[in-house]
């Protein structure tokens, strides 16, 4: 079955449908990770986005039960050069094609993804429409143009959990839980929860709209602001919540959480031309000078100059483009990073940040 991806600027990419059929709009972004498509598909941060993989051969190792970052895929569409018809891996349970069909995600293969990527790099991330139903190019371009896009849209409410829950997944024998941590779920990746749990935290996940008082009622030792999709400026309620909790609890922000924290401190966010989506971005920790290769997935960024004015210190920078990758506010016991220390997918270089959070909790609990 034919499928077409149309961009709002009129560019057309043709291919063959390999997942579900249908029609969806979203912001078109590219991801440069060569592995980890299953994690990418299930990352709630991709809500509202059509993801194209720059690596051309996708689906090689199928889909398994473990490598999920949430309970279902969130991407609006999935664009690849070639989807493997055979899944080869001892953990694989089904092919990517079947999985997408089952989960009603439109996949399109046979696309010249390098050309698409170059297009986005030069013209910037833009809205697109992917369809197997309407193969009229003009009409699709129009649909892309008319789609809401990301700016000013609150996508968090579409991916956050309905009600609070306690994360207890992987362990059979319970380690003694040293700390109680609340994770404000803006579209949290399971790997954040897994990491906290591995380090001895009792992890409560709470909906993004949870009021600060409710959070405090839990008497947590710390708060994690999770990653999530879309425009941080549209999620004012989380920013408000954060503002109220600043100073009362040690806070660790990741990705969208970093942006929320930035805004709560008084800094602005802005949109990058085509965002950072991949697993190879070098980030330098300013204090030590050491470099971590990081997993990244964000289209917005916090303005570092404003952060400095708010009393925060820039702790990490991206060596590709010099953007702010991390900050800390000593007095308020809050720190955050723009990238993904939980990986999933991506390198584990930045995993130490979870330990730093635990250290912060430890120090704080002794006060």
């Amino acid at each position: 079955m034919r499928a077409i991806l149309a961009l709002e600027d009129g560019a057309i990419f043709e291919g063959v449908c390999f997942g579900a059929s249908g029609e969806r709009c979203g912001e078109v972004v590219f991801n440069t990770s060569m592995t980890g498509y299953q994690e990418i598909l299930t990352d709630p941060s991709y809500k509202g986005q059509i993801v194209t993989m720059t690596y051309p051969l996708i689906g090689n190792y199928g889909v398994n039960l473990d490598d999920i970052e949430s309970c279902k895929p969130f991407v609006e569409g999935f664009v690849v050069k070639e989807c493997s018809s055979l899944a080869s891996n001892w953990r694989s349970k089904e092919t990517l094609e079947k999985y997408l069909k089952k989960n009603k995600v439109i996949g399109i293969e046979g696309v010249d993804t390098r050309t698409l990527t170059r297009h986005i790099r030069l013209a910037g991330a833009m809205k697109g429409c992917i369809s197997t139903q309407d193969l009229n190019k003009h009409s699709l371009v129009k649909k892309a143009k008319n789609s809401p896009g990301l700016l000013g849209i609150d996508l968090v409410k579409e991916v956050t959990c309905d009600k609070p829950y306690l994360w207890q997944k992987s362990r059979s024998s319970q380690l003694d839980e040293k700390f109680k941590v609340v994770v404000l779920d803006c579209g949290v990746k399971f790997n954040i929860l897994r990491n906290l749990e591995r380090l001895g935290c009792r992890v409560s996940v709470m909906p993004a709209s949870t009021r600060p008082e409710q959070i405090l009622e839990e008497k947590p030792d710390g708060l994690v602001l999770s990653n999530g999709p879309g425009d941080p400026a549209a999620v004012t309620y989380v920013v408000e919540t954060t503002k109220k909790l600043l100073g009362k609890l040690p806070i660790f922000g990741i990705c969208l959480g970093h942006q929320m924290l930035g805004q709560a401190l008084g800094a602005k966010t802005y949109k990058l031309k085509f965002g950072h989506h991949g697993a190879n971005h070098p980030v330098k920790e300013i204090r030590t000078g050491s470099i971590a290769i990081t997993a990244q997935n964000h289209g917005f960024c916090v303005d570092p100059e404003e952060l400095k004015k708010c009393g925060a210190e820039i702790t990490h920078i991206n060596l590709y483009d010099g953007t702010c990758e991390g900050m800390a506010h000593k007095e308020l016991k809050a720190f955050s990073v723009q990238y993904h220390p939980e990986a999933g997918p991506g390198p584990h270089d930045a995993n130490y940040l979870f330990k730093e959070f635990i250290n912060l909790l430890t120090v704080n609990s002794k006060l």
């Binding site: 051309p56 051969l57 050069k81 018809s85 001892w90 990527t117 697993a279 330098k284 590709y320």
Partner: protein, 1076 residues
């Protein structure tokens, strides 16, 4: 971290001659390192015995020693040059091992030389299997079960704990020399003994077999600040049990989930830290159980390697260059990524294509050796292909191999291959297995069944099945419609089918398919290798072709010259030609041209992105080259420098409109076509050995009788000395004809009078069409009949009379003029009874061009390239042959130790993989050095075993006397002993093997023989000396198989006993040359 200021002079050790498992990749890495370090302001001292390398060009390092890479020579160089640091990680295993030995001698300490990159401890930790194992266990990593042994008793003990089958691996060897897999106890004994012998420290590891597991490699880099990045992951198509060098490999890894990949990445980072490779690149190999995911560490190479060259070419990330910069203290983030300019080198490349590397084997050169692959490397070269899919890259790679497959084609009809053969070819890894996978699929084998037989991952087999299925569809479509649709043709191109392959499917020819394709506007698009999957703008024009929607080539208005490279290394066409191509590029850049390189060999300097202005990483087939010509429209195309490969394309390229420059295609043909050539030679009144060509058995007999035996025979359809045979009598001749299978008017056999005991001479010259200037005249040590590529030679000639040399010069001038050569010409002569015969003329760069250039200091290839674009020799200041004031000896290096069961006798078919140069003030000293550099050092004391054929008996007397005088003892077989005895030479007689005695083998085993001189007689009937020669190879004892070689050896030993060896840089030699 700023670069170190406490060091100023750095010594780099190269890897020496090209051998199996250590090839051009170390020229590539060494050259990059020299450039990088000098860029940073360091003074570089370089040692390498291989004259065919770019790195030994006098401009590459500040001081260059073409000296044997032995600890003694290095010690002398250190004493003389007083470097502050030694960088041992760029010269392969040779570089590492030599550095360790030099350190062990206390030299580094004595002259306070620091080892940078990897230090003594790190090298030991990585290379010593036991030490390595301990380190891995310490950081919680898993390895195959194993035990060490230092003698056969311990080995047997170890076998009990590990259990059959086992892998036996010697420590400190390259490419697994002497290793093997034992399935039975007998095999175990054999391999264990060999391994103990081959290991530098008589140490072998007996290891649990993980045959059939998935094999992976990671290329890792670390800087002094402890930042670690992975440059590339590589998945082997062939499972564990086949050396990675012999495996088809794919980048990036294809069948690992992110979780598994990250686990491997974490392990690699932990390993490089634990081993303590401070800076630079390392290669780490892993095996993964396909059923359970258990991951074990196989080995680590604490240096740049073949795989890092591949990874560099596959990703665009220049590992060796960065490694060199890290070694002097820079950190990754301080180094810029050349390709993107804006971003730093502290990142992990991500690619948006698939890279396939395919090894090139030359089993046809060693008919006695089975083409079975195992854990010891046997391939002599490789080709790499880039495509958007695995299917495309695989097929592109296969046609780049130049084994007359044009993709995954149908050379054999699968219907005619018996099932049993298919199963055998699948189950026993071999050089042509990839094609048998296809035949099996065509026969209807399921993917699972093939996986079971081969242990190859189903993902790969499934992709091959896609190719097979598309092939079926194309055939069907054509059958039904009598034509191919645009969509069908496009799909085929996307799957990497070549025009020729498609032609084969529809019973058409390559040109017609090409026309059809162009008519349908199906043209390749060229895309960039940019390290970042298009996330950033890339500035380096490094391209590959694919069939997509956008072309990224950037056109300039400059005049462009395109240089065609030589493709994968093979015996007969290797680094020498890459050297020439690079020089052409350098020279033409100097003249302001835009240079465009086309090559598919990832090991080379020519495929470095900064050698030429543009690089097309493509196979050297008519189709691929024409596609680039169509795109770039160069002003000139050079086919002279890449060896026979581009030369063979010349005619077709010209017909298709390519502007070939230099010697005309017509002249090339005149030199290559035997009949035309004979006419030319007659006209010039130059002697040629009597010859003829026979189209039937009867005619062959008749011609042979007329010419007189011995004769040289060869089938006409193979070029380059292939399948050439020396025939002594009619019986032999008939045998040859039988083997050649066909003698007909279409496939005649060529017959030449064999000139016995003639001196062979090689000449390289350059001509601008008017003036011809000789670059060098080389006298071979071994007489004609031993391929020029295999024999040692000396420059200038040392026994030829002035008159003969004058004749040789005259003939060279005459031939070059008659052929209107514009550029290089190489001629082989044979001198017999003072008559000069011409054997062959190659109107192109030859294997000896770099040797001549290094010996004389004249950059012949550069001069030739400039001549080809219209410069006159007079303008270039090269109008007179330069006579060196020293002697240079070239010696070749042979791969016999890799091919068990192959006799080491030399003949008219080339077998060597590489060469070294010995340079000194006298022939004896230069020859001695050449032997030492080639790894077969001449002894200074001990017993020499002599057994020569009757024709040599007279000549051996003098040699034996000399040896005796120099204090050697002599042992000989009966016939030889008798002759020596009657000449008053004291000799120990040993029994003949043919008569049931294994006395000599026993002596060899005990290490009581230090040199063997054995000239095999051509006719049979004499008892077989083969076991002796095999034993010499096994025990690493020098074995000389020609009387001329023996004479030279005696000469060498004599001169070394007279005075110690000294070292001298080629810059010094050349300066002296210029002075005279």
């Amino acid at each position: 971290m700023p670069k170190r200021t406490d060091i100023k002079k750095i010594l780099i050790i190269g890897s020496g001659p090209i051998v199996i498992s250590q090839a051009c990749e170390f020229d590539y890495s060494g050259t990059q390192a020299c450039k990088a370090l000098r860029e940073e302001g360091y003074k570089v001292i370089l040692v390498n015995s291989n004259p065919a390398t770019i790195m030994t060009d006098p401009e590459m390092a500040d001081v260059t020693y073409i000296e044997p890479i032995t600890p003694e020579a290095i010690a002398k160089i250190i004493e003389k040059e007083r470097p502050d640091a030694l960088l041992p990680t760029l010269g392969g295993q040779t570089g590492l091992n030599t550095a360790i030995k030099v350190a062990d001698m206390g030299i580094l300490e004595k002259y306070s030389v620091k080892m940078i990159g990897a230090d003594y401890q790190a090298i030991k930790k990585a290379e010593d299997r036991e030490y390595f194992k301990k380190s891995m266990l310490k950081i919680g990593l898993d390895l195959p079960k194993s035990a060490l042994a230092y003698n056969i008793e311990q080995a047997r003990q170890a076998l009990k704990t590990v259990g059959l089958p086992v892998i036996i691996r010697p420590s400190f060897t390259l490419g697994g020399t002497g290793g093997g897999i034992a399935f039975s106890e007998e095999e175990f004994e054999k391999i264990a003994l060999l391994g103990l012998r081959n290991s530098m420290n008589s140490e072998i590891l007996i290891e649990e077999s993980v045959l059939g597991w998935k094999e992976y490699e990671l290329e890792v880099m670390r800087d002094l600040k402890d930042n670690v990045v992975i440059i590339c992951s590589i998945e082997n198509f062939d499972a564990m049990g086949i050396h990675t060098g012999d495996s088809i490999t794919v980048a990036p890894a294809q069948t690992l989930t992110d979780q598994e990949y990250q686990k491997m990445r974490d392990a690699a980072i932990a390993i490089i830290r634990e081993i303590g490779v401070e800076t630079g690149g390392s290669n780490i190999q892993f095996a993964v159980n396909p059923k359970t995911g258990r991951m074990v560490v196989i080995e680590m190479n604490p240096r740049v390697s073949r795989s890092s060259a591949l990874a560099s070419k596959a990703t665009g990330f220049p590992i060796a260059k960065i490694a060199a910069k890290l070694a002097v203290g820079l950190s990754l983030d301080e180094i810029r990524n050349d390709i993107t300019k804006e971003t730093p080198a502290s990142f992990e490349p991500t690619i948006d294509y698939c890279v396939v590397k395919i090894p090139r084997f030359t089993f046809e050169k060693f008919p006695e050796a089975e083409d079975i692959l195992g854990i010891s490397m046997k391939s002599v070269g490789e080709t790499m292909a880039i495509g958007r899919t695995f299917k495309e890259a695989l097929q592109k790679g296969l046609r780049g191999l130049e084994i007359s497959h044009f993709g995954l084609d149908n050379k054999l009809d699968f219907n005619k291959i018996p099932d049993a053969k298919i199963r055998l070819r699948l189950a026993k890894p071999n050089a042509s297995r990839i094609f048998y996978i296809k035949y099996a699929l065509q026969k209807g084998y399921s993917v699972e069944r093939i996986c079971k037989l081969t242990h190859i991952d189903p993902w790969f087999i499934r992709n091959i099945k896609d190719i097979v299925q598309l092939e079926g569809k194309i055939k069907q479509e054509y059958k039904k419609q009598g034509s191919l649709s645009k969509a069908g043709l496009k799909k085929a191109k996307e799957y990497g089918f070549s025009d020729k392959q498609i032609a084969g499917l529809i019973g058409s020819n390559e040109l017609s398919v090409r026309r059809l394709r162009k008519k349908k506007k199906i043209e390749p698009t060229f895309r960039l290798v940019d390290t970042c999957a298009a996330e950033f703008e890339a500035y380096t024009p490094y391209y590959y072709s694919t069939y997509e929607t956008e072309d990224e080539t950037r056109k300039s208005k400059r005049k462009k010259i395109m240089i065609l490279g030589g493709g994968p290394n093979r015996i007969g066409q290797g680094i020498e030609f890459d050297y020439c191509c690079c020089h052409a590029s350098f020279a033409l850049k100097e003249l302001g041209f835009e240079t465009i390189m086309v090559n598919s060999n990832p090991e080379t300097v020519s495929t470095d992105y900064d050698t030429s202005d543009k690089l097309y990483f493509e196979s050297l087939t008519f189709e691929d080259v024409m596609n680039i010509i169509d795109k770039e429209k160069p002003n000139g195309v050079i086919v002279q420098f890449g060896g026979q490969t581009p030369l063979n394309l010349a005619e077709r390229l010209e017909k298709a409109g390519a502007p070939i420059i230099g010697t005309s295609v017509k002249s090339i043909d005149m030199a290559e076509d035997r009949e035309k050539f004979s006419k030319l030679v007659n006209k010039l009144k130059i002697n040629q050995p009597a010859n003829g060509s026979a189209t039937s058995k009867q005619e062959a007999k008749r011609i042979a009788k007329k010419i007189g035996y011995p004769i040289l025979v060869r089938p006409s359809y193979v070029l380059g000395g292939r399948a050439m045979r020396l025939v002594y009598d009619e019986e032999n001749l008939l045998e040859f004809i039988q083997e050649a299978q066909e003698v007909s008017s279409e496939h005649p056999i060529l017959i030449d009078k064999f000139l016995e005991d003639a001196v062979e001479v090689d000449v390289d010259a350059v001509s601008d069409g008017k003036l011809v200037v000789i670059g060098g005249i080389m006298e071979h040590i071994e007489s004609a009949g031993i391929h020029s590529g295999d024999s040692a030679c000396v420059l200038p000639p040392h026994t030829l009379s002035d008159e003969i040399i004058a004749n040789i010069r005259k003939y060279t001038f005459d031939l070059a003029k008659a052929l209107k050569v514009k550029g290089l010409i190489n001629i082989q002569f044979a001198v017999k009874n003072d008559i000069v015969f011409v054997l062959e003329v190659n109107p192109r760069a030859s294997r000896t061009v770099p040797f001549v250039s290094k010996a004389t200091g004249v950059p012949l290839a550069k001069i030739a390239a400039k001549v080809m674009v219209g410069k006159k020799l007079s303008e270039l200041g090269f109008t007179k042959e330069r006579q060196p004031a020293h002697i240079a000896v070239k010696e070749s290096v042979l791969p016999f130790s890799r091919f068990s069961g192959v006799d080491i006798i030399l003949g008219p078919e080339m077998k060597s993989t590489g060469e070294v140069m010995g340079i000194d003030s006298s022939f004896g000293r230069a020859f001695y050095k050449s032997q030492e550099a080639a790894g077969s050092a001449l002894p200074k004391t001990g017993t020499v075993f002599i057994s020569v054929k009757n024709g040599d008996k007279r000549n051996i007397i003098f040699i034996a006397k000399k040896l005796l005088d120099m204090g050697f003892k002599i042992a000989a077989t009966k016939g030889t002993a008798k002759v020596l005895y009657s000449n008053n030479i004291d000799v120990q007689e040993v029994g003949k093997i043919g008569e049931g005695s294994d006395e000599i083998l026993e002596l060899l085993r005990k290490g009581e023989i230090s040199l063997i001189i054995n000239t095999p007689s051509g006719s049979r009937g004499q008892f077989d000396m083969k076991p002796i020669r095999s034993s010499a190879v096994l025990h690493g004892i020098s074995c000389i198989t020609t009387i001329q070689g023996a004479q030279a050896a005696v000469n060498g030993i004599e001169s070394i006993l007279k005075g110690k060896l000294s070292v001298k840089s080629i810059q010094e030699y050349h300066a002296k040359n210029r002075g005279t």
